[in-house]
């Protein structure tokens, strides 16, 4: 997930809004690659503080746009192997993405995994904005980031679907209903709710039917400390997420986006 300037071809990993090198507006393209070819790999045999479980492999990979990046994996890939993001094709799913500086790109990536599912759905979004209210400093990490909500809404606007907001002053409202398919032709489509929550409130969340949970885990609170985890999740089964957080156990087929073992290793750093 990165931006490339159309004019000078400069690649930016960070969330810049203008290519200052060219000093022109509107030259940046947001790229969310989905297909990677392995160029080289190394096996790391020495543990370090944040990567205790060894051996692991690091791949140098080239995406479909020709740009390169690296990836940690516990799996073995040969040079030339192709790694692709796959669409959700199971009844239950837990999708995870790392946020690498450009949060809106991470959110967009999350939804690409359920693109096909959403085609056949009407979607209503419930955002509990009470989560966004300022909290005392020590609880700041519990807040659902307002920036995240802005990005989410912006993504849905970008998808050119009609939507409605119950109150114009959205900083005051509790719920936003968002209808991806409001026209009559789509009346029969399955109705789903998208609940947007902070990771720090998952224990109080109950499983509802026909609900997709968008979980903001950029900041996590453990033992009164706030950690920058920089993760986002999407699931239709909150139990999958709760179990994964408590034990790391999940059927690999139900985990999309990142490698489950890699994410669980990261989470263990916050224990």
């Amino acid at each position: 997930m990165y931006k490339v300037c159309k004019k000078c071809k400069k690649l930016y990993w960070r969330n810049v809004t203008k290519c200052l090198k060219c000093n022109q507006e509107g030259t940046l393209d947001l790229i969310i690659p989905q297909r990677f070819k392995v160029l080289a790999s190394t096996t790391v045999n020495i543990p370090s503080k944040e990567h205790q479980k060894v051996p692991y492999n690091i791949l140098a990979q080239k995406d479909e746009y020709g740009n390169t990046s690296i990836r940690k994996t516990f799996k073995y890939y040969k040079t030339g192997a192709v790694i692709k993001d796959k669409q959700v094709n199971t009844n239950d799913y837990l999708i995870c993405t790392k946020v690498r500086y450009i949060e809106n790109a991470a959110i967009e990536r999350l939804f690409t995994f359920i693109e096909e599912l959403l085609k056949y759905s009407r979607l209503f979004i419930d955002i509990n904005l009470s989560d966004c209210k300022p909290k005392p400093d020590f609880e700041a990490g519990k807040m659902l980031s307002k920036k995240t909500i802005e990005h989410l809404l912006s993504l849905l606007r970008k998808s050119k679907t009609k939507y409605g907001i119950l109150d114009n002053d959205y900083s005051q409202i509790i719920k936003i209903k968002y209808n991806l398919a409001p026209d009559n032709k789509n009346k029969d489509k399955k109705c789903r709710h998208l609940k947007v929550i902070s990771i720090n409130s998952i224990n109080s969340i109950k499983q509802d039917t026909n609900t997709i949970y968008f979980i903001d885990a950029k900041y996590m609170i453990k033992n009164s400390h706030i950690y920058k985890a920089n993760l986002l999740f999407l699931t239709n089964n909150i139990k999958l997420l709760k179990d994964f957080f408590s034990s790391g156990k999940i059927d690999d087929n139900l985990f999309y986006g990142e490698e489950a073992e890699i994410i669980y290793e990261e989470l263990k750093n916050y224990e």
Partner: protein, 377 residues
């Protein structure tokens, strides 16, 4: 611009604390240059990891605590390239403050290897590299793997670099590996840290300090002239560009420094090349203009970079055998070039030389500095 004096503590595992290492380098450098601390108009401090290793930030203010002198102290942090960049910074400040002392210090032996790998890894990109487990030996390994495949370099070429640097370090009393015999078999049989790099392809974490005093005036006969120095930083992430092993960043800095010095790579008699990993001693001479890209390996096989070779490189042991206290290495390189230029390199002395080149960098060619020194006869 001249180097009036320089000093290096013994690199390695030291009983001395950070402050004591810094103090030894400061006092030694003042004595070598014939100055008193109060003569210094400014200090530039180079350090990378003190926040982690000693729980002490705001390192600049340690200098007045050690010298008793209230003076401007400019802190500089640029990963393994901190000292080289600090040297360039000091040279650029010389029209405002004259003379200036540059001090590089690092204390690395106390933390566990696991912690130290993490501390050093914080010099890489947080989201793109640290989270992906790219400790620096792994970054060096990926670069090595791709570069070796493209240019048909054999692992035995890396062994020859390591062997040469250990031969040089063995006779350098200030080197981490001083007096230690390292054989080709030991190198070849050393454990793989991150494939294809083995233990002896990686520089060691060391404690150490170095200091240099620069001035616009020549103070004594064996002062060395700073012909040119330049530093630049580049996009932090190692990977991203379409060709991640096209190291034009090295060429940009080197071209600039050669142009400023009014000379060419072929005029250089001796080079100090940052060999944090053995593969770097192949890559840097190629992109800095000493060899065509892909040709370094032939020079290594012919022994051209040995002390008696056509272009001696790392004649005192390089980072590989001197050890690599991150914040001090770039100054140690310049100190060793000065020792060679003024004929005070002891057993490592290579004869009468005129021009020398130092190349230091942080992360994988991200904060780069290059300096050309000349004997002032």
């Amino acid at each position: 611009m001249y180097i009036n004096g320089s000093y290096q503590t013994k690199f390695g595992v030291s009983d001395k604390d950070f402050d004591e290492l810094a103090y030894e380098a400061i006092e030694g450098c003042l004595n070598d240059a014939g100055y008193e601390a109060k003569d210094m108009e400014a200090f530039v401090l180079s350090n990378n990891l003190n926040y982690f290793t000693e729980s002490q930030s705001h390192t600049a203010a340690i200098i007045p605590s050690l010298t008793g002198i209230d003076a401007p102290v400019f802190n500089n942090e640029a990963a393994c390239g901190a000292a080289g960049v600090a040297f360039t910074k000091a040279c650029k400040l010389l029209d405002k403050f004259d003379p200036i002392m540059i001090i590089g210090v690092e204390k690395m032996s106390a933390p566990s290897t696991s912690d130290m790998l993490y501390f050093v890894a914080t010099d890489s990109d947080r989201e793109l590299e640290q989270r992906e487990g790219l400790i620096f030996p792994a970054a060096g390994a990926l670069v090595a793997d791709m570069y070796m495949k493209r240019h048909n370099i054999h692992i035995s070429d890396l062994s020859l670099i390591s062997l040469k640097n250990h031969e040089n370090g063995k006779i350098n009393p200030y080197a981490h590996f001083y007096g230690k015999e390292v054989t080709l078999d030991m190198i070849n049989e050393s454990p793989v840290i991150c494939s294809p790099l083995r233990l002896f392809d990686c520089s060691a974490n060391s404690d150490g300090a170095a200091a240099i005093i620069i001035s616009s005036k020549r103070k004594k006969r064996d002062d060395v002239r700073i012909k040119a120095t330049h530093a630049m930083s580049f996009d932090l992430a190692t990977f991203g560009p379409k060709d991640p092993i096209d190291f034009t960043s090295i060429t940009k800095v080197s071209k600039k420094v050669f142009k400023e010095a009014g000379c060419k790579p072929e005029d250089i008699d001796l080079a100090e090349i940052h060999d944090g990993f053995s593969i770097m001693e192949i890559i840097v001479p190629e992109y800095a203009g000493f060899y065509e890209v892909g040709r370094s390996k032939y020079a290594i096989r012919k022994g051209e970079n040995k002390r008696d070779g056509k272009l001696p490189i790392n004649t005192t042991g390089g980072l590989k055998a001197c050890g690599h206290p991150l914040g001090a290495s770039g100054l140690r390189q310049i100190h060793d070039l000065r020792r060679q230029l003024i004929g005070k390199a002891g057993e490592n002395q290579i004869g009468n030389i005129q021009k020398a080149f130092a190349f230091n960098f942080g992360s994988i060619f991200k904060s780069i500095s290059a300096t050309i020194l000349e004997k002032d006869v």
